[in-house]
Symmetry: D3
Subunit: 225 residues, 6 copies
């Protein structure tokens, strides 16, 4: 009973464009499910998470509760997908790992937001891939892969076709960690990918890109454990 | 062990102004708690609820799950208050009536969002008032009381100093009910107020107005059971 | 994955006759399940609910807890059906909407009592129909439909073949609401039926009547949203 | 933080007389709580439990679910006491041992029904006494103590002032065990009393008798571990 | 939907030999599941339970919490089996009867440890057999059946091919009960077997013996209800 | 309501010496609690965790479930402390952050094991410190502080009186992460300490050392955020 875990970028839930960005993704997920693909979808917190975290920070809410606001926002995004998938989806958004494993065992598409303070949704996705013995983790994100530098700042930045976990660790290892600022793959996610040797592809959050990654075509950046 | 239930208008959580609208309310709640007032705060879903419900409706999510999106949004708002109150607040947002009763028994300020599909946050507030034997339900809302007509549409509309539940029922009785469109007090809230004879005041959601209502001064509209 | 929600009148659980009234209903439910009908059964609280609510009221228990007594009683009745259906039934009585949706997803017959104070079991049934996208809500009750007047008091009362939600609302709109006195369809149930356009039939709680309603034959009173 | 566990006979909840039998007991519990006595009350299932178990048996419900019906009935009785005690009581009926320990830690009067199939409410009471380190277990029952024979059948039967657990075990050891037929103290309860050396008094379920047992006066039958 | 409940002796989890004793058992369970056998496995607490109970007793932990330590240890053993069975197993260890019934309804192999203080894992196994209407309870234990005397102490002790519950009750009826000292079948287990007439076989915890018991061959000791 | 979070080294729970190592720690915690210190204790998994993880790995259990075995083992250790502290402790071991916050709000000593796969108990301790706004995190461990090199391998290794989080990150940043091999402070713990500026002291797990750290004396290694 293999499966695929897809982290859906929080950017797919921008308030202004969510009614345009979600339907094509929902069609993809329905098609994949119809073909018998076992899916777990992990929704990012996106704009809603950032807003609540920023508001909370102004009110001096502590970082742990800011994380909690972020994961509640991600669950809102997750429930939007559950509702959009109708009977294909497990009808409730699981809130921890055991609930996720139980939901996955039913064979339906499982959709989660965050689990616990201190975990990015990327780490949650990697942890789920590990628990349900998924054979693929697609990290569908804002950018179309890992670059040698920030492509928005450096025009010489090049996309890497593949990257090792050690290289990833060097890249992200000294970044400061504050609620809402997790990027691409944080260190916990990288460690999980490494220890369980989870095939991981980082792609842009677009239906065709995700579909390609699942079909095993070369796309985005492959992470080598 | 008497107490006060305050429904906080979703408008207190407008994204653009939440960092200005919440701090004065938080100061009020801290002052009240310091004086020994037993409080349950019920956060409305506001802008976030409306957005997710509207987005869900475009994705053909059913009304029951739209309600669920609305109450999850209200819980996000509730958690912002929990974080802002710090140690005065019960540290977790209760998700049903029994959890609320348990939290109230600790003596801390309890903050909730919604509970269950089919319940407006107004009805939730009335139901809590009933369960914890509160002696006052302050419905802090967008308008400064019940009017003879919609004050935004009819310049002759007059604020009523008091109104009976029967009159309220006539006013709201034939309104259509869709997720996110609950107004002032819906029928379930009115029925609860009536059956348990809960002293209810509808005021504008401003600290001074709420404070006056709690001190027993004439403000807004008093609902007579 | 369509389904049918059946509200079972609390009268099916009269202590003196429950061993006669339940077996024919259980046979019907088994037959329906064998034919692939997806069922959610909502047990009314009946005599047990009324007794505990009346006893509680004499002890000055508040209305919210009286509702709670009523829904606990309804769960007892629900469990009797679960036990009687054996392996066809989901083995546990769900206690809220999410648990019900999870149970429904298994394909077994789901049996619930009440959920939350402030909700009649009628409203619970309508809310479930909405959540699981049921195509029919059969309200199996004491009377064989909606009458122009109380048939027990007025010999000229006539059964209506169909009734609109607006008419229902007028009929029940000004009734007082106390724990244990909910009738036929209360206002919350009517509102839910209307907003989700749930095909609803009110019939007498007898196996043949319920079977007819499910086969789409004209029986009892059809509620038009 | 010592405490007393009182098992309240199911007979205190007879439908016809509950409004007469409970008030004096409630007054006693309020008085004891006012004096700082730490109380856990365990309600028997009584008439309601017996009815549902008998009905379930006719419907061929298995013994495990019959036990479940019995403990749900006991929780209904428990909630009647919670409601009657108002703010003195922990506001929710705990459903397992850990919840009971958490409730007891709040200092309020805790009221439970049953916990788990296979446990009589007597055994539940003994197990709670053990967990919360209670210094007294008062088993308030139908009879005024342990007799040398069944006093209803044998006019020579004599009440024992005290009895050892070994003697109790001999008396009850060969009784058949079916849901709803647990008597006085079943073997599990006796074993618990013995292993934790819980001071146990069996008295008639009347306020004065319970009060005497708590004051340490000679009443009913003392069980010697 | 018949099934088999197998109590796995805690001795299968000896620290030094668990990596040798479990694999053959796991192979058996996989084979049985592949043939469509519906299984519930109940892991004993074994060495880990005994260690924590002994340590707790030295720290003056009360008997109820010692039981809790024991059942937590049993759950650790249970999770080892869940992990070893992979996708054949229900992915989470249920912690009470209702969760177990829900897990069993999925058709996967369910693995549990203990449930509640006061219950041996033997009693838990019997209670589950009752709840899920199992047609066989295999008690896989340290010894190869019930003997006329302790075979370790009395060389004339003979294994009984079958034994009645009354005889079992006489044998164990006067044993003292302390956390961690439950033997073979305690009285609660015996009572459950009797009241639900569960076919019960006591065998040595070895794959071939368990397989024989399931195939209905004469092995170990048959308990006659 | 400030507080102190103490991570207790798994080595305090060695099977052979736990009855000698725990009592002095329990005395310290009782003394601290008596002085009004607000405590959260986080038990490491120690020998039991290592055994179950090693056994699970031999059975090809996946890393996520190995983590789960580890945290269940840590909860066993935690419960030993709960039992040993008696009424001073919150009576149940919380299993996630919200439960911990609720328990902490009661004012009792809270004892936890692990929470979630992917979190070391060190990270759990840091996350709790953050959530409950603790003013001190004492990491009581096998060694008496952070050294310039492994003191067991390098006789020139020197204990650092203080260390910055950046230095810690460099030291541990490239370590492989497998269930059961978390050391001192892993990266997640370091990140949490940094983002919330939690005063952190690493000391040897001995009562006097912990006491000194709490009194603010120079001991072990101070981590500078």
């Amino acid at each position: 009973m293999k499966g695929t875990v897809i982290k859906i970028s929080g950017s797919a839930f921008y308030w202004k464009s969510v009614d345009k960005s979600l339907p094509p993704l929902l069609r993809l997920f329905k098609n994949l499910a119809a073909k018998g693909e076992r899916l777990v979808l992990v929704a990012g917190g996106g704009e809603t998470a950032r807003h609540y975290i920023a508001s909370g920070r102004k009110l001096h809410v502590n970082e742990s509760m800011l994380d909690d606001l972020g994961l509640r926002a991600a669950r809102l995004n997750a429930e939007l997908i559950v509702g959009g998938l109708g009977d294909l989806a497990y009808p409730v958004v699981p809130e921890n790992m055991n609930q996720t494993a139980e939901a996955f065992a039913t064979g339906r598409v499982v959709v989660v937001g965050g689990f616990h303070p201190g975990h990015s949704t990327n780490a949650v996705a990697a942890l789920i891939a590990e628990r349900v013995n998924a054979n693929l983790f697609v990290n569908a994100t804002d950018v179309d892969g890992v670059y040698t530098a920030d492509p928005n700042k450096d025009s010489n930045a090049k996309r890497l076709k593949q990257v090792t976990v050690s290289e990833l660790r060097r890249m992200f290892g000294d970044g400061e960690m504050r609620a809402g600022t997790y990027e691409l793959l944080d260190l916990l996610a990288v460690n999980i990918i490494e220890r369980s040797k989870i095939r991981t592809v980082i792609v842009k959050c677009e239906p065709q890109m995700i579909a390609k990654a699942i079909r095993g075509e070369s796309v985005g950046t492959l992470v080598i454990a």
